[in-house]
């Protein structure tokens, strides 16, 4: 079948056909199982906190990818959702003493709510103007977090307790936390996959293919984009909340514009509009930051160089190129 021949120009961003033939579905099932297997084995050979960090950033990038890859909207402000959720979860767990699942829920709700406001303001503009508005609003969120009391300014929220899940399972144990993070990550990944391959996802695909035509069929394109924006913000928030529990801190770094850049970097390196691209991208980028840490300030430079090489060598990202070579969807 030529249905997913990625050579067509319109396929530069995102996958080709939205609805999945049976064989593609079977491939995805295998890949998801493989990924689950990897996540089970990984902490046996790699430091668990590192793996958890990778998963958090992978989820963050997956959320960003939902918006860019499937709605064609480039947000420069996703740090706001990631960071705000981290703060809210941190505050709820530490100051209010909430259990982790409730603290996470609050973080996600805060991000989705913030996403609704930012999205509603940005969605009316197209292209770079949309991106600029998200950036500007995210900067406002940053300054809010810098000034607000509960975020503790430059110090951030430190020593966030991981607490006991449902008041029962103690997450201060790295292994218990690992299982929790892994399960939530897989569930979120599957949920994102479902969104893309849902009736809603089909409409989103039509809007991206030809917006005026979709509108002329009676689809209020702005509403669909806004819904996607809110979903994306919510999942970015989930990533931020999890990260707050893993690292036990929530700081200004989490809401800084460079965190938005991180999501973009990870997604582009891995492959926009692919299911597994953001995960592969996250492994590469986070590993790089970790192992290049001794370079100090040069990390950014090294990262920049690798980014440029990546974009020049494979514009569709690692997984995107792989998918094209293998003539399958990944």
């Amino acid at each position: 079948m030529t249905a997913h021949d990625a050579s067509a120009p319109a396929a530069a961003i995102g996958p080709t056909s939205a609805s999945l033939p049976r064989e593609a579905m079977a491939t995805y099932r295998l890949l998801f199982l493989g990924l689950a297997g990897l996540i089970v084995v990984a902490p046996l050979v790699i430091y668990p906190v590192f793996v958890m960090t990778v998963l958090c950033f992978a989820l963050f990038a997956c959320a960003f990818n939902l918006l860019l890859g499937y709605a064609g909207l480039l947000s420069f402000g996703h740090a706001a959702f990631f960071g705000m959720a981290a703060y809210v979860t941190g505050h709820a767990a530490k100051v209010w003493g909430l259990t982790p699942e409730l603290a996470i829920l609050l973080g996600v709700a805060a991000s989705a709510g913030l996403g609704l406001v930012v999205g509603a303001l940005a969605i009316r503009r197209q292209g770079i103007y949309f991106s600029m508005i998200t950036l500007a609003l995210a900067q406002m969120v940053f300054f809010f977090c810098l000034q607000a009391k509960f975020t503790h300014g430059e110090d951030g929220i430190q020593a966030i307790p991981r607490g006991a899940l449902f008041g029962v399972i103690d997450l201060s144990d790295d292994w218990a936390l690992y299982v929790f993070i892994a399960v939530v990550f897989m569930a979120a990944l599957l949920a994102l996959f479902r969104i893309v391959h849902s009736p809603f996802g089909q409409v989103l695909k039509a809007i991206r293919e030809n917006e005026p035509r979709a509108i002329s069929l009676g689809y209020d394109a702005a509403r669909y984009k806004l819904a996607t924006f809110v979903l994306s913000a919510g999942f970015a928030g989930l990533a931020g909340s999890l990260k707050a529990l893993v690292s036990q801190i929530a700081t200004l770094t989490d809401v800084h514009w460079s965190m938005s850049g991180e999501a973009i970097l990870i997604t582009l390196v891995g492959g926009v509009g692919t299911v597994f691209g953001p995960i592969v991208g996250s492994v590469i980028v986070i590993a790089m930051q970790n192992y290049l840490a001794q370079l100090g300030a040069w990390v950014t430079v090294a990262q920049g160089v690798i980014f440029v090489v990546c974009v020049l060598a494979f514009r569709e990202g690692i997984v995107g190129v792989l998918a094209r070579r293998l003539k399958m969807r990944l």
């Binding site: 056909s17 009736p199 809603f200 089909q202 005026p212 035509r213 009676g218």
Partner: protein, 251 residues
């Protein structure tokens, strides 16, 4: 309320900067007819369509559809009221399959469009209806191809099928035959005639023999203004119309 006319405009105008692309157009389309909107290039026909379907906001004037003022309704809302347009440049969803193209329209009309938590498999319930339409338009054997692989003529047929999937009460077709060969023109004309049963069609078309053949009534637009209106015989004999066409370099 005037039940005889499904669409009525009054003083409809649009200017771009200082340039009046459409000025003071009063258009009345009778229910159940095929009404043609013709005129030389740049006369403002497409702009009119854009105004009627709210892809552009009018500078002045009002639009009534089914006795209801739709001047402030948004583009998606207009379609939801049953007034659906096509585009001068063929508009299909290139990287959806032919079946999916039609299904997207069925889905909008019959629901499930916002369900992001369900599997897309629920859309299979529209497959039969979509296939029936494709059958009618001679597209059944390419149902599972991506639309981008179709010939130009077939893309236009698909566009028409997708529009009809919404069962619109009124269709606006912008040059449905543009860029087509003889056989395709005859085929599309047949499809339009069939589609016209039980609905109203407003059509922009440069091919005058098609216009003569299909339309019950014709409005001639030139430089944004209504120049003449009537049946084909009356309009084609009108010296102002002939002059407008010759003046614009048309035969």
């Amino acid at each position: 309320m005037d039940g005889e006319h499904i669409l009525e405009t009054e003083g409809l105008s649009k200017s771009f900067g200082g340039f009046a692309a459409v000025s003071d157009v009063g258009l009345r389309v009778k229910r159940g007819t095929i009404h043609a909107l013709i005129g030389p290039n740049g006369a403002g026909k497409t702009t009119c369509f854009n105004l009627l379907t709210k892809f552009l906001a009018p500078t002045a004037g009002s639009i009534r559809y089914n006795g209801r003022d739709i001047t402030r309704t948004n583009a998606a809302g207009i379609a939801q009221l049953g007034l659906v347009r096509s585009f001068q440049i063929s508009a299909v969803f290139l990287h959806l399959t032919v079946l999916e193209n039609v299904r997207v329209a069925l889905q909008r009309q019959r629901g499930a469009s916002f369900d992001f938590w369900r599997s897309e498999k629920v859309l299979k319930r529209y497959d039969a209806a979509a296939m029936a339409l494709l059958e009618e338009f001679g597209l059944a054997e390419v149902a599972h191809r991506e639309a981008t692989e179709l010939s130009y003529g077939r893309k236009r047929a698909l566009e028409l099928a997708t529009t009809l999937a919404l069962e619109p009460e009124m269709m606006l077709l912008d040059e449905p035959m543009a860029g087509m060969g003889h056989e395709d023109i005859a085929r599309i004309a047949g499809l339009i005639r069939k589609a016209a049963a039980g609905r109203t069609i407003l059509m922009v078309e440069h091919n005058l023999s098609v216009v003569a053949d299909l339309s019950d009534r014709i409005t001639v637009l030139a430089r944004g203004k209504v120049l003449a209106e009537g049946d084909y015989a009356a309009v084609s004999a009108d010296p102002r119309v002939i002059e407008a066409y010759i003046g614009a370099g048309h035969a």
